[in-house]
C-alpha cells in the first residue's frame, strides 16, 4: 500500500489540496464582493491565454502559461468594462458575453493546433488530469528523502506549491486593505487605500490561482473551488478571519475526499472504473456547501436581520 500510494496518489492529492487552497483564499473575497462570477469568467478566459502562450512558446512551462493567463484575464477585464460602458448593458451580461466568447475561442484554437506532444487538449482543459500527475520515481515513503526521486516529481507540484504560497503570502500581507475595501470601499478610499489596485490585484491573484489549478481540475470545475469552500465557510462563522480558516479546511477536505472517492468509490459500489477526480472534488465541495446550508451555525443570519 505504502509504495503504491506514494507513487500513484500522493502527488495528485497534494496538488489537489494546494490548488483548492490557492483558489479558496481569493475566493473568500470574490464571494464577499459579489464577484463570484468574476472567478467563473477568469477560469474560462484562462484557457485561450494558456493556448496562445503555448502556441507562441511551444512549451507548457509555467511562466509563459502564467503570463498568458494573466494577459487573457486583463484583456477580459478591459473587454467587460468596455462592453459595459459602450453597450450600456448590465455587468453580468457583459461578463457572460466576454468569458463565453473567449473560452469558445480557446477551445477552437486548441482543436486546431497541434498539441499532441503535451498535456493540452480539450478534455484536459475542461476536466483537468489530476490522476495522471503521478510520481513514477517514487518507491515508498523513503523517496521523500531521496534527492534523485524528488528531482523527478511532477513539475506541477512545485508550481502549484509556489502559487499557493504566493497567494497565501499576498493574502496575509494585504489582509487589512483587502478586508476594509471589501467591506466599505468608500471608507477605504477616504483613508487612501488604493481600492482599484486592490481589486485588480485580487482578480490577477485569482487568475494565477486558476492557471495553477488548471492542471488539477481544468478550467470549468475550478469555479467550484473558488466559490464552494468560501460560501460554506461563511455559514460557519461571523468573522472573516475564521471564515478564511474554515474555507481552507473545506478546500483540503474536498480535495482529499474527492480524490479518494473518485479513485475508490466506484469500486466500493461494485463499479469497474474510477471516475474523474476533478469532478468528484467539485461534487464533494458542493455537498459540503449543502451540508453547511442545512447545519451551519450562521445559516439563519439573513432571516434574523430581516425581522429586525
Amino acid at each position: 500500500m505504502g509504495s503504491e500510494f506514494v507513487m500513484l496518489s500522493l502527488t495528485p492529492i497534494l496538488i489537489g489540496i494546494l490548488a483548492s487552497i490557492a483558489c479558496a483564499l481569493p475566493g473568500n473575497f470574490l464571494v464577499l464582493r459579489r464577484q463570484a462570477l468574476i472567478g467563473d469568467a477568469i477560469s474560462h478566459v484562462v484557457l485561450p491565454g494558456i493556448v496562445v502562450a503555448f502556441l507562441l512558446t511551444g512549451t507548457v512551462a509555467s511562466l509563459p502559461m502564467m503570463i498568458g493567463a494573466a494577459g487573457a484575464a486583463t484583456i477580459a477585464v478591459i473587454l467587460i468594462e468596455t462592453i459595459k460602458r459602450l453597450g450600456r448593458i448590465e455587468p453580468g451580461a457583459a461578463m457572460g458575453v466576454v468569458f463565453t466568447s473567449m473560452f469558445a475561442g480557446g477551445v477552437l484554437l486548441l482543436e486546431q493546433s497541434d498539441t499532441s506532444s503535451v498535456h493540452l487538449d480539450v478534455e484536459h482543459a475542461l476536466m483537468g488530469n489530476l490522476e495522471s500527475l503521478v510520481w513514477f520515481a517514487a518507491d515508498g515513503w523513503s523517496s521523500l528523502l531521496d534527492p534523485v526521486a524528488l528531482a523527478a516529481l511532477p513539475p506541477e507540484l512545485p508550481r502549484i506549491a509556489a502559487v499557493c504560497a504566493l497567494v497565501a503570502g499576498l493574502t496575509y500581507l494585504f489582509w487589512r486593505p483587502l478586508k476594509i475595501s471589501t467591506f466599505d470601499e468608500g471608507f477605504a478610499q477616504s483613508m487612501g487605500i488604493p481600492t482599484t489596485a486592490i481589486s485588480i490585484g485580487l482578480v490577477i491573484a485569482a487568475a494565477v490561482a486558476a492557471v495553477a489549478a488548471f492542471d488539477a481540475v481544468g478550467s470549468i470545475i475550478v469555479i467550484a473551488m473558488f466559490i464552494c469552500p468560501p460560501a460554506a465557510a461563511r455559514l460557519m462563522t461571523n468573522r472573516l478571519e475564521v471564515q478564511v480558516g474554515w474555507s481552507t479546511v473545506f478546500a483540503v477536505v474536498s480535495a482529499v475526499l474527492g480524490y479518494v472517492f473518485a479513485g475508490y468509490g466506484p469500486l466500493w459500489l461494485g463499479g469497474q472504473h474510477a471516475v474523474s477526480a476533478a469532478g468528484m472534488i467539485a461534487t464533494v465541495s458542493g455537498v459540503i456547501l449543502g451540508l453547511a446550508c442545512l447545519f451551519g451555525p450562521q445559516r439563519k443570519r439573513v432571516g434574523e436581520a430581516a425581522t429586525d
Binding site: L32, L173, F174, W175, R176, P177, K179, I180, T182, F183, D184, G186, F187, Q189, S190, M191, G192, I193, R234, T237, N238, R239, L240, V242, Q243, Q298, R301, V302, E304, A305, D308
Partner: protein, 271 residues
C-alpha cells in the same frame, strides 16, 4: 456637448474666487463633478471655519453626497480644488474622518462591531502593524462614546439601523481626525441614536474640531448646526444658520418641491 460644462466651470471657478482660505479645515473652490453628461455638482465654493458644525442641505439628487465624495477623493472632480487645513487631500488625509451612508455597505459582512471600529486605526497600524491591547482599548473607548461598548463582540448584521450608524461613528472617532465628514448620519435612526450622535458631534465641536454633515431633516438644522450650505447642484447660499437658513433661501434651493406650509412649520427667521 460634453466639453461645455468643463470650460464654464473652470472659468467660473476663476471668476468667483472666494476669500483666501489659509489653513481652514475645508476650502473648496469651483468644484464640478459630473456623472456622464450631467453635472452632479457645479462649480461649488465653500470655506468651513474651524470648530464649526456645518449642514449640507438640498433636495434629493442635489449633489450633497457627491460633494463629500469629491472632497474625499472618492469621485474625481472635473475641475476645482479642495484644500484641507491648507494642504492637499493626500497630505492631510490622516486629519480627515469619513462616515459613509449606512446603506452603502453590506451589513451581512462577516465581522464584529469591534473589528469595524479597528478599521479606523488602519493608518496607524499599516499593513502588518501588530494589533495590541492599546488599540483594542482605543476602539472600546470609541464604542463607549457612542454607547455601543456592550455590543463590541456582536456581528454587525445583528444590530439595528441606529446601532449600525453609531458603530460607523465610533470608527470615525477611532481615526482621531480634526475634520469629520458625515453622509446623512441621522437618516433612518431611532431617537436614542440621534441623541447619541448629536452629543458626540457637539463634543467634537467643543474640542475645536470641525464637523460637516450631509443632512436632510430641515426641522433639526437650526438645533444641531451653526452653519449651513444650501446646494442644488450649484451653491445656493452658505453661512451661519441664523442668517442663511431662511425661507427664501430654502425656496430657492428646493424650487417648487417644498410646500409653503412646510416652510412655515420650520418657524424660520424672516428672510
Amino acid at each position: 456637448m460634453k466639453e461645455t460644462p468643463v470650460k464654464v466651470a473652470a472659468e467660473d471657478g476663476r471668476i468667483v474666487e472666494p476669500p483666501t482660505s489659509d489653513d481652514s479645515p475645508l476650502a473648496v473652490r469651483g468644484l464640478t463633478v459630473s456623472y456622464g453628461d450631467k453635472p452632479a455638482v457645479f462649480s461649488v465654493d465653500t470655506i468651513v471655519p474651524q470648530g464649526s458644525m456645518m449642514a449640507i442641505v438640498g433636495p434629493n439628487g442635489a449633489g450633497k453626497s457627491t460633494l463629500l465624495k469629491a472632497v474625499l477623493g472618492i469621485v474625481k472632480p472635473l475641475s476645482g480644488t479642495v484644500s484641507i487645513f491648507g494642504e492637499s487631500l493626500s497630505e492631510a488625509q490622516q486629519r480627515v474622518a469619513y462616515v459613509p451612508q449606512r446603506a452603502s455597505v453590506d451589513w451581512d459582512f462577516p465581522t464584529r462591531v469591534i473589528d469595524v471600529v479597528l478599521m479606523g486605526l488602519y493608518r496607524e497600524l499599516g499593513l502588518l502593524g501588530w494589533l495590541t491591547n492599546r488599540h483594542r482599548k482605543t476602539a472600546r473607548a470609541c464604542l463607549e462614546r457612542v454607547g455601543m461598548v456592550e455590543f463590541a463582540e456582536r456581528q454587525i448584521g445583528q444590530l439595528s439601523g441606529g446601532q449600525q450608524q453609531r458603530v460607523f461613528l465610533a470608527r470615525a472617532l477611532a481615526q482621531d481626525a480634526d475634520l469629520y465628514l458625515l453622509d446623512e448620519p441621522f437618516s433612518g435612526v431611532d431617537a436614542a441614536t440621534e441623541k447619541a450622535i448629536i452629543d458626540v458631534l457637539k463634543s467634537l465641536k467643543s474640542q475645536n474640531k470641525t464637523v460637516v454633515c450631509v443632512h436632510h431633516d430641515l426641522a433639526t438644522v437650526a438645533d444641531y448646526f451653526d452653519r449651513v450650505l444650501l446646494i442644488n447642484v450649484q451653491k445656493i447660499a452658505e453661512g451661519p444658520v441664523a442668517t442663511t437658513f431662511t425661507a427664501e433661501n430654502l425656496q430657492r434651493t428646493y424650487g417648487g418641491r417644498l410646500a409653503a406650509t412646510h416652510i412655515d412649520d420650520l418657524q424660520l427667521p424672516a428672510g
